[in-house]
Symmetry: C2
């Protein structure tokens, strides 16, 4: 029947029906151990029967914990962010925490305001993906006693700030060795915005691999872009116009790589026969584009999950070995790279 008597059932009713006080009900609710087994059993049964569910607001107010975790992402849509979000929300669900999703639209002010609100009794902590804030601003949050972990920091952060990121440099190195191994010598790089950790670390790998192969980097082969498809296409077009064009391009993410393929195709070049392209991310796009992208895999969902486990330990006030986790990357070879063309 369950006649929807919908004055929602409160702890009071459960207590009355069980013939105990609300304190006792609360205790069984929270798994405290100072309740007699048979009492616990009785109360549990009634909770079950009446379909009682604790009011989160009341709990939040009283206990200071809300069971909500804010997740700040620049945007929801791009696969890059939704992959992280997906991993994070799954992990959060397993910890019985709810996700308060907050897209910041890449706007610094909006992110600050949002965080401000989140701190104030709305959430227990937060995941901040690709934050707009400076290290100082983030430290301030930390000092205010707020729990959060940064995923994929945009700028270099102070050591005190918990973060999880990917092994950019090693990934870039793997990509370059692959290209070098195929005989390429003129390898261009299409980077992301300079100053970003992801850009600079990958750039470091690019240079290191070049140096290890005894190749002097040519500044003309290094062009800065914006991690978008169109940017990748433009950059590639410029690169191909060079008097001595590259035989391979290392794009710093998959979008750029896709743009590179489009630009190459636009001027009749075949990939990989005439131009090799390697990306970074291994987003879903990498497998559906053709030729399928050779790219460096970042474990995005895993990064989300890892951030959650860091955060939950933070929430439980555990002591830490390390606040910084760097997840490994590895090259996935598909169809967009091949031996250097014979001249």
């Amino acid at each position: 029947m369950a006649e929807l008597a919908h004055a929602r059932v409160t702890i009071r009713e459960v207590a009355d029906e069980a013939g105990v006080s609300i304190a006792t009900v609360s205790r069984v609710l929270n798994g405290r151990d100072d309740v007699a087994p048979e009492t616990r059993e009785l109360v549990s049964r009634i909770i079950q029967e009446r379909g009682y569910i604790a009011n989160r607001s009341a709990r939040g107010l009283s206990a200071g914990r809300t069971g909500l975790v804010g997740v700040l992402v620049p945007l929801v849509f791009p696969v890059y962010f939704s992959a992280i979000l997906s991993g994070a929300s799954e992990a959060l669900y397993e910890h019985d925490l709810r996700v308060l999703l907050s897209p910041t639209g890449h706007e610094h002010d909006r992110e600050v305001t949002l965080l401000d609100r989140l701190m104030h009794g709305l959430t227990d902590g937060a995941l901040i993906v690709l934050p707009e804030e400076s290290s100082e601003e983030l430290e301030r949050l930390l000092d205010a006693g707020y729990n959060f972990v940064v995923v994929d920091p945009r700028l270099r952060l102070n050591d005190r700030i918990p973060s999880v990121s990917a092994a950019h440099t090693s990934g870039a190195d793997q990509a370059m060795r692959h290209l070098l191994g195929l005989g390429h010598r003129r390898i261009a790089a299409i980077t992301g915005p300079s100053g970003w950790v992801a850009t600079e670390d990958r750039r470091r790998g690019y240079h290191a691999a070049l140096a290890a192969a005894g190749i002097l980097p040519d500044p003309a082969l290094e062009v800065e872009s914006d991690f978008e498809i169109a940017g990748g296409a433009d950059a590639t077009a410029a690169l191909l116009d060079l008097p001595d064009p590259p035989t391979a391009v290392f794009a710093f993410n998959d979008n750029l790589a896709i743009g590179a393929i489009q630009a190459a195709r636009a001027r009749g070049l075949r990939v990989p026969e005439d131009l090799s392209v390697v990306g970074f991310d291994d987003s879903e796009h990498a497998t559906i584009v053709s030729p399928a992208l050779t790219t460096v895999r970042q474990p995005l969902a895993e990064m989300g999950r890892t951030a959650v486990s860091l955060l939950t330990r933070l929430l439980e006030r555990q002591r830490f070995e390390t606040l910084h986790i760097e997840l490994g990357t590895r090259l996935v070879v598909r169809e967009s790279t091949g031996p250097v063309p014979a001249r």
Copy 2:
């Protein structure tokens, strides 16, 4: 200085500093009109200065409204859902509502449990994308007084249930007319799971267009699949093995279409020269795959936004002209379709 005195500032402190009661502060906070202009001004200034932010839990407990809206999606990652989520969260932000994201993993029980919790004081209402529940279960929610709107109903729903969807039939019709106009006569359909609204309505458009062109539908050309790439590839492979294979396939979503292209290419067929393919959704994938997909555009983000505006009106207890909104679809012609090949 803002010395982070971080005993967080409460309404009490603001009231004391302004020399008024907390009731008055609450009134200016909520924009009530029974406050003298200069008092309002004074209080507002102090709120500003002290950086006061209302505690949501307390507000939720006292006022019964939390400012949170649950968004239930099967999964976060697939572009289809993240596009809807993106539109919805943007719109929710504009209404000063926060998003409580709940991925259900396509599991009926999990969705039910989640909804149960959401109802109980956690949220003011919800958006349910592609719900797992039957119409009856949803009606029960409605009767319990919970506010929600369904986005892209999976099954046919009772009229009382607010929903927003896309014009499946018309979209399918447009796709078919395009193919028919190119001279195709043997046009296969790769459908989604039968019983789903999206599948059945698109199937209706498929049949209607065929009928209008005086073509008898061939059951062999209609194969059911699962909206995934691999499914599309398998279905297409089977179709191409037919004694009299189709010259065009109408895939009921972009994933299926991408699978179709892959399968065609796998056996050396060119798209669109040897086989035309049209998809449905116009997801981001449609533009990066090659050849770029001719597909029916569904305004996914717009559906999210629309659902939010429906929900907010529901929350304000407004009376309604209509509870069902169907957003238009339109064919986007790109490169995956062409004239029927000469035999």
